[in-house]
């Protein structure tokens, strides 16, 4: 039985439909990340799971029971907010214990629970302090402590790392992952940062304009994006998307990428593509991630299908561990990921190699993957 099950959830607010029929399920101990651009409805979806917002139709079930009509405090959930939402007038200990106080748990029990949680999160020395006296990372831990002490069926996180600086964000991300692994908690997590999504999730749900674009494991989302939006949204730098047309050579379908006055690049169509869509002349969008665009030095030895070509280098971006190179192909810019010490110079023609093992094709009209 899934811990969280969302069926046909719709939410209207006035005349606007914010969530347009969402179906997701999450097993016990899973880490579901809701990801998408601003305004896609991910926070709204989280709020409906929490019960902070009512739904127009559909069902939300937690632990097997339908919770549509239950008040947030009765859904057996706990929530960690972006701003942590620690009560400023109470000490850390009182903050953690507040929920129990509202449920009239007797003081000795409360104190025991608070002490246990404080020990797990290593914040025992902070129990008497006020939130204003804590650092960002400490506040985050207190917020998590408040959630942990409830021992809920599901933890809800609403962009908890957005307020932190880059370094702290990475540290806290690891803490959250560690927490997940040690406690086996079931978590629903909202973020707009796709790196967080990829690193933390066991399951990712990509949303756009209130509609689910795809639900799957991080690997599935990354390697088999369901449509152009998911392909473009996940991965940094973004996937290269080039316009091309289908040609048949020796009975096998190929994709021709025109390059204006230079010779076109012709690549075999990916094996995963639906053959029925590969008619002669059909226009397609060819997708290949920067890490699959290299030169001979950086190429993956295990690559089975490789196509080479020369192209003039436009921009070189040394990024520490890699070098990103921007070239112009088929009317679009293409980003290649090379080794840090790659010998690339702006303006010069450089030999590139495309590793086609992970290449993808998309239909430009429907935007779906072929």
């Amino acid at each position: 039985m899934a811990t969280l099950e969302i069926r046909g959830l719709r939410k209207r607010f006035g005349a606007v439909e914010i969530l347009k029929g969402i179906d997701i399920s999450l097993e016990k101990g899973g880490f579901l990340v809701l990801v998408g651009p601003s305004g896609c409805g991910k926070s709204t979806l989280l709020n409906t799971i929490a019960g902070l917002e009512a739904i127009t139709s559909g069902d939300v079930s937690i632990g097997g029971r339908v919770v549509n009509d239950l008040h947030p405090s009765q859904r057996d959930i706990a929530m960690v907010f972006q701003s942590y939402a620690l009560y400023p007038n109470m000490s850390v200990g009182e903050n953690i214990a507040f929920g129990m106080e509202m449920r009239r748990v007797p003081k000795p029990e409360r104190d025991k629970a608070v002490a246990a949680v404080a020990k797990t999160l290593q914040i025992e020395h902070l129990l008497k302090r006020r939130p204003s006296q804590l650092s960002g990372g400490q506040r985050q831990r207190v917020a998590m402590g408040r959630a942990l002490v409830r021992q809920p069926s599901i933890f809800l996180f609403d962009e908890p790392l957005s307020n932190l600086d880059a370094k702290l964000r990475v540290d806290m991300r690891i803490e959250i992952k560690r927490l997940h692994q040690t406690t086996g908690a079931t978590i629903v997590y909202v973020t707009h940062d796709q790196i967080e999504a990829m690193t933390l999730a066991t399951k990712i749900a990509v949303l756009k304009d209130g509609e689910l674009q795809q639900v799957g494991t991080p690997a599935e989302i990354y390697n088999q994006p369901a449509n152009l939006f998911v392909a473009d949204f996940m991965g940094s730098p973004a996937m290269n998307l080039l316009e091309g047309a289908i040609e048949r050579a020796d009975g096998k379908p190929c994709v021709r990428l025109d390059r204006g006055d230079q010779a076109p690049i012709v690549v075999p169509a990916p094996a995963s593509a639906d053959p029925a869509a590969l008619r002669e002349g059909a226009r397609v969008v060819f997708g290949i991630r920067p890490e699959a665009v290299n030169d001979s030095d950086s190429l993956d030895h295990n690559a089975k299908s490789v196509v080479r070509f020369d192209a003039p280098v436009e921009i070189v971006e040394p990024a520490g561990a890699d070098t990103f190179v921007v070239i112009h192909v088929a009317g679009r810019e293409m980003t290649a990921r090379m080794r840090a010490d790659a010998d690339v110079r702006v303006g010069q023609n450089h030999p590139f190699a495309l590793n086609l093992d992970k290449a993808l094709l998309f239909d430009p009209q429907t935007t779906r993957r072929l």
């Binding site: 607010f13 914010i18 601003s38 305004g39 896609c40 409805g41 991910k42 926070s43 709204t44 989280l46 709020n47 019960g51 902070l52 917002e53 009512a54 739904i55 919770v67 549509n68 009509d69 239950l70 008040h71 947030p72 009765q74 972006q82 609403d158 962009e159 957005s162």
Partner: protein, 316 residues
């Protein structure tokens, strides 16, 4: 930052379908029940009473309330009186224009000047600013009493100047009926200009320093910078200040009474004093009501559009 779409009102919270619908409804209604007493009080004592006064203005109430309607009679009376130089209402209207205009103008001028001066990175601002602001803590009666003494020719400014050797100094406005209203202006400006100064100071300080740097680079003199850039940018503050000041001028009552003593001869009559005397002293309740309604309409004409635009701007 959470999605813009998820800024939902709290009333949207999930609620149990209770077996006892009455109890659930009661809980949902709790916020409204809490607001209700205040709202009802305001409804009755503000809107209800205003309507009542409006109603009275169409009756022929004299010393006691009468429900006999006489149409626009009272307003016609006031209208005729507006042009009748001998009537109190005429004096009241003229004074209102004089007082209002001068009061607003000088408060703005003085407030802006002080704000600009204070904004010049002054040392001791912490002492000066409270000095300009303290009159606001005083009751209008206190202010009027102080200025009545200050301007009293027998023991105040006039006499002090004579004693200091300036024999030709002559300032008896406060006892000259025709000039009394100007004394009220003086006292009023003294009291309220600090408030306007505070508004302009906040406005000045809200101006992005980088705009001033750009002006410097463009070679603008301080005068030009203020005239062409800073003051035009303060337009919203001017608007707010004018609206607040006009409202205050229209409602002025305590100040007039205390500066002029019991308003001898009605020379410093204002609509507010007119209303009071006609209602409570001359037993002309209906006329008094009509004058009150006119006061209300004038203020509403200024405030309602302003409030509406302010609330719209903050629409979520």
């Amino acid at each position: 930052m959470t999605d813009e779409l998820s800024v939902a009102p709290f009333l949207d919270v999930a609620r149990p379908r209770s077996h006892r619908p009455l109890r659930a409804r009661a809980r949902d209604a709790l916020p409204l029940l809490v607001l209700a007493p205040s709202f009802i009080l305001v409804l009755i004592f503000v809107y209800g009473f205003n309507l009542w006064t409006l109603f009275l203005s169409f009756t022929n109430s004299k010393a006691f309330t009468s429900t006999h309607l006489v149409g626009w009679l009272n307003y016609e009376k006031l209208w005729t009186w507006t042009f009748d130089h001998t009537s109190n209402w005429h004096t009241a209207i003229v004074n209102m224009g004089l007082f209002g205009g001068l009061y607003v103008f000088f408060c703005l001028a003085l407030g802006l000047t002080l704000a600009i001066l204070l904004d010049q990175k002054i040392r001791g601002e912490g002492i000066l600013r409270p000095i300009y602001l303290y009159p606001l803590a005083l009751s209008f009666i206190v202010t009027g009493t102080a200025w009545k003494l200050f301007l009293d020719p027998r023991i105040g400014l006039d006499k002090a100047m004579h004693d200091l050797g300036w024999a030709s100094f002559h300032f008896d406005w406060v006892v000259t009926p025709r000039m009394m209203i100007y004394c009220v202006v003086i006292a009023g400006v003294w009291q309220t200009s600090g408030f306007v100064m505070a508004m302009f100071l906040a406005g000045l300080r809200g101006i992005d320093g980088e705009i001033l740097k750009a002006a410097q680079i463009d070679g603008a003199t301080a005068y030009a910078t203020y005239r062409r850039i800073v003051i035009p940018m303060l337009r919203p503050v001017f608007l707010s200040a004018i609206i607040v000041l006009t409202g205050m001028a229209l409602k002025s009552y305590d100040l007039v009474l205390s500066v002029t003593g019991k308003n001898p001869g009605g020379a410093a009559e204002l609509p507010s004093t007119f209303m009071y005397s006609y209602t409570f002293t001359r037993d002309q309740m209906a006329v008094g009501s009509a004058s009150a309604v006119i006061m209300l309409m004038t203020i509403a004409a200024i405030m309602v559009p302003y409030l509406y635009s302010e609330l719209r701007e903050k629409a979520q």
